[in-house]
Symmetry: C2
Subunit: 368 residues, 2 copies
Amino acid sequence: MSLSYESSGVRYDQLDAFKRACQKAARSTAGELAAHGYEEPATTRGESAYLIEGEDHYLAHVEEGLGTKNLVADAVYAKTGECFYDAIAIDTVATIVNDLATCGARPISVAMHAAVGNSGWFSDTKRMALLVEGWAEGCKRAGAVWGGGETPTLKGIVNPEVIVLAGSAIGKIEPKSQRITGEISAGDAIIFLASTGVQTNGLSLCRLIADNLPDGYQTPIGHGDGRTYGQALLAASAIYVDFVVQCQLAGIKLNYVAHVTGHGWRKLMRLEDPFVYEITEPREIPALFKFMMEAGPISLREAYATFNMGVGFAAYVAPDAVEATLAAAKAAGHEAWVSGHVKKEGGRKAVTIPSLGLAYEADTLQVR
Amino acid sequence: MSLSYESSGVRYDQLDAFKRACQKAARSTAGELAAHGYEEPATTRGESAYLIEGEDHYLAHVEEGLGTKNLVADAVYAKTGECFYDAIAIDTVATIVNDLATCGARPISVAMHAAVGNSGWFSDTKRMALLVEGWAEGCKRAGAVWGGGETPTLKGIVNPEVIVLAGSAIGKIEPKSQRITGEISAGDAIIFLASTGVQTNGLSLCRLIADNLPDGYQTPIGHGDGRTYGQALLAASAIYVDFVVQCQLAGIKLNYVAHVTGHGWRKLMRLEDPFVYEITEPREIPALFKFMMEAGPISLREAYATFNMGVGFAAYVAPDAVEATLAAAKAAGHEAWVSGHVKKEGGRKAVTIPSLGLAYEADTLQVR
């Protein structure tokens, strides 16, 4: 039987009822912005970052968390002494700032939330120093200042041996024309930017796989890649802010960008309007994902619906902007390629990967 | 033996090493602000909110958490069915926005971070709805929009039956002259604003007290107050943003304000410069605190060093601004009074309460 994300214990349905209630209540507070000289843009709720519209700029606000990836770092550290908390910190910053960048905002300030169950967590000075170093490095890669944070001890709430990592960012779009609004057209090219590995999504399933391996995270992933499973999982996430900034500097109009996180490639159809996103150049499956698909086992269909499969960020641009967009990605140090196109097929909304025989219809994605 | 806060298991020393490392690394990222047209004000690190200086305004950023107060709500709910999650949500928003207001910033947007160990937490629709309702109400009281949030399921990190509540705020100070800088003088009046109860500090100790009571949170607190211990603890925190806004609208110069949280009244000497803060009108000890001092037992000295003792916010103003400040507090619906004065006694830094025979010298407070 193929492993699925639901089998790793995460149930989106219960969370979704809460999220819907939050969005409804949150909308009822929009009137508070008037006294500050701001207003709420009509379409910001449900996007990856919350935008606040001023006369000549938008402010952007994101609160995000790492998820459970640090449990992998904890297990590897306990077994091998190799400490990846610098990468874990970069991962956390990446989840925050990549979400912010999807609307065209540049992060100005990133704050840390690090909650422990026992303040003794910080007595491991090596791990503590790597966490601090990585957070600062993540902020620098995002072009943002590290603007404070909070480090509570939550005895009886957080398990004593672990840490909860999360944080927030303030960003800005100025001029307002740099906002990425999600107005795409049939014929737009879809440009993929490579990920460094799983980044921060699907980790519950990754951990379930490790539990079923005799050597756990020490298992070599093979397929020409010399790393162990743990090392490959713990590669620090890519930060895509610099790509968005390079596009803005070059005057490129990004019609839409998607941060490929939970729900894997289904995230490519995050916009409401019905389009078909046809991926003709999906890239060869990276070694880490091949290994997980075999070890799970995980079907091809489930893998692309859960993991980023080597793609962390997608940009949708008009055909005449393709070359400049690829150049912007290269200037920011990202591997990028034209992966496919946006098509119109009546009212159909789907992500298709013909060369792999995969198609995900609209009803397989509920993220709003 | 008198109970102390350290006896409830919170060790500030291990956290402090981490916080110092964070502040040092965070300062190294300040150069990132230049590309955004901002810079870091010299004195912002270590204040309750992180400020970012622009040409004609400051942005403010706060990340804060509730702490462990929800464990009290959980215990009361399990025993009596009375659900205080609306108050718990207001508490969380209050911790965030009150910190922001201490520098003179008005919160524009507040985001929620609600992490659970099991998504089943949200299947209790009554509790879930109260949490949502309270968060929206807190935002409205703070004059801020509810700008999104994050609700991760952190299996193996957060205990399955509880929630971690935290969040962040974006704020602004405009014009820049409304920044509260902490320039106080001997002779300044200290104006106290009442708290509603413990608000969000000292909760670990509060819970320890409940553990030692035969009827736990169901124990009546007496002293003329008809509530049980649980009910009194779970009164929603006051939000003081409206007080700061009223002062700004009235053109009152607030030389300094202190949000009385952890470390109790020792927080009154949060500024670095050596002054003596003499409190001559401490108010009668509210019933809840009398009850806890008896039940602990907790000494008078420990009580004022841990809890807010009925005072949630303090404003330091020149003598000629006293009347207007009291009027601003009243306009915002807060009980307020002149509690004492700032004095100069050479290099001494201390908080003194002569009528109670209490004096806390500088070395009893390390918060930076």
